[in-house]
Amino acid sequence: MTSGMTSLAIYQKEAWYDLVSVWRTPGFVLPALAFPLVFYLFFGVLFSPSGSGSQAAYMLVTYSCFGIMGPAMFNFAMSIASDRAQGWLTLKRLSPMPVSAYLLAKMATSLVFALLIILLLFSAAALFGEVRLYQHQWLGLALLMLLGTVPFALIGLLLGLTLSDKAAPGVVNLLYLPMAFLSGLWLPVTMLPHLMQQLAWLWPSYHLSQLGLKLLAMDQGHAALLHLALLLVTSAGLTLLCLLVFRRVIGAK
């Protein structure tokens, strides 16, 4: 059996090269980092009434959420669909590499991107948006958003396992953008029509953003535990679904 050291090296290399390979794809990096930042500067800072900084703070949460969703969903969905189509995933599976190293590598890449987005948006909020938060709020928000990548990574994984490499980008966009809008990530959820507000409960992004807003006491006032529970249930459901699909599509144990 593999020694602990060697498997650790596999995990490290896998993660490193996944990150390197994504990092060398400008078509992925630029939109992933620039979209949330530009959107935030535009809607959260520029069009925000000056003075209280509270709209900039509100939008900081929602656009952070918007930002971290993208890389998680796209990296998983597109690269897994493409690795599947190209046979690269099959080759890896026949090597002694543990499947978990492959998935954790993708997760690590998503987290690095999430962290970069958080750093960018936090900087913008602090420098231009006059956002002033307590240290525990800044840190709490950053940690929450990092952890919050999990359900979106799972959605990406599910799509990556089921879609062709050609269909994946389109479908992810088709899910990503409406989900962001309907969860109140672009406009505050309270400004959406009543029906849409109710539909917001369907999306993990709504619950993640509400948890984030809760840190700033700007949420809609539902129980944090409820949001947390719904996120966990969604994640658990997605995990189960991924396992099922994984067995069917890849035929692994």
Binding site: A9, K13, E14, S21, Q86, T90, L94, S95, M97, K253
Partner: protein, 318 residues
């Protein structure tokens, strides 16, 4: 396990392997055995079941029935242990590795998977891509890509190596180079299972060629034995002659008697038929046909061109 080369050691054995998709049989009772230091070439036209067979052996799909022994261990279903995978090498026909990683990086990554394999630099050398180590995969030529994939298959110094159409897209020189490497591996005692539709490649490399046709091996033997086999024709008829008389006819090598008649294998069918008709004027339902192997070969030859074209297209797309 004994690391010494032991040519009697069976590294791969299949017995009565069956697999069907949606009720349609793809493999129907495949038996196979490969020993250390043996290059086994599986030859077959498109749709013969080559891919299914390799997939079943490697555990990418589960066989319906039959036993698979890899390195002496009976395999269950579609799972292969990590310890086993440490000793296997696989080169598949795949479109592309992540295009933005360099040759050296791919080698580094794959080298890290194996406990007792080659180092990253050794793999680059094995691929013969020292000059292109820093080149991204996406910028390599088709042949260079194949060489890299071949090198990655060797990353763990495997005892059992599967090569699926390894020379596809290579020019003549590169192909000969690869053949040379395969021969070296063979001498080191590696058991190699190779699928190809280049007859020439099979003749050049294989100790044994097995011809897969409609999910069954219809012939197996050394390249020369198989070549001889393709000369035979099959004569079926109803004849009053005894078996001894029939066997005495010119060219007859083999006889099978069945309720509805006899089947003769002949190396000179025209002379056999002439003699038969002379000896027995009651002969009825006379039929002369080519052996299945020959049909298979014909299809192979036909398929050769079309499949090669298809592969090139695929590569361009990639």
């Amino acid at each position: 396990m004994n690391p010494d080369v032991n040519t009697d050691q069976t590294l791969l054995q299949l017995t009565q392997l069956h697999k069907s998709f949606a009720g349609k049989p793809v493999l129907s009772g495949v038996d196979l055995r490969a020993k250390a230091g043996e290059v086994l070439c599986i030859l077959g036209p498109n749709g013969a079941g080559k891919t299914t067979l390799i997939s079943a052996i490697l555990g990418l799909i589960a066989a319906d029935s039959g036993d698979i022994y890899l390195l002496g261990q009976l395999q269950q279903g579609a799972s292969r242990s990590v310890a086993l995978r440490q000793q296997l090498g696989v080169m598949l026909q795949i479109g592309s590795l992540p295009a933005t990683l360099t040759v050296a990086e791919h080698c580094d990554l794959f080298a890290s998977y194996y406990l007792a394999g080659y180092s990253a630099t050794e793999l680059v050398t094995l691929a013969g891509l020292e000059a292109h180590a820093k080149q991204r995969f996406g910028r390599l030529s088709g042949g260079q890509k194949q060489r890299l994939l071949f090198a990655l298959a060797l990353a763990g110094k495997p005892r059992l190596l599967f090569l699926d159409e390894p020379t596809l897209g290579m020019d003549v020189e590169a192909r000969r180079g690869l053949w040379q490497q395969i021969r070296q591996l063979q001498q080191q005692g590696v058991s190699i299972v190779l699928t190809t539709h280049y007859l020439e490649e099979a003749e050049q490399l294989a100790n044994r060629i097995m011809v897969l046709h409609q999910g069954k091996f219809i012939a197996s033997g050394s390249p020369s034995e198989l070549k001889a086999l393709t000369q035979y024709k099959v004569i079926t008829c109803c004849s009053a002659l005894t078996d001894a008389a029939l066997l005495a006819l010119p060219g007859v090598l083999q006889l099978n008697r069945q309720p509805q008649g006899v089947t003769l294998h002949s190396s000179h069918a025209e002379q056999t038929v002439l003699a038969l008709l002379t000896a027995d004027n009651t002969v009825s339902q006379l039929e002369v046909s080519q052996v299945a192997l020959e049909q298979a070969f014909l299809q192979l030859t036909r398929g050769d061109g079309t499949e090669a074209v298809g592969s090139e297209k695929e590569e361009q797309a990639a």
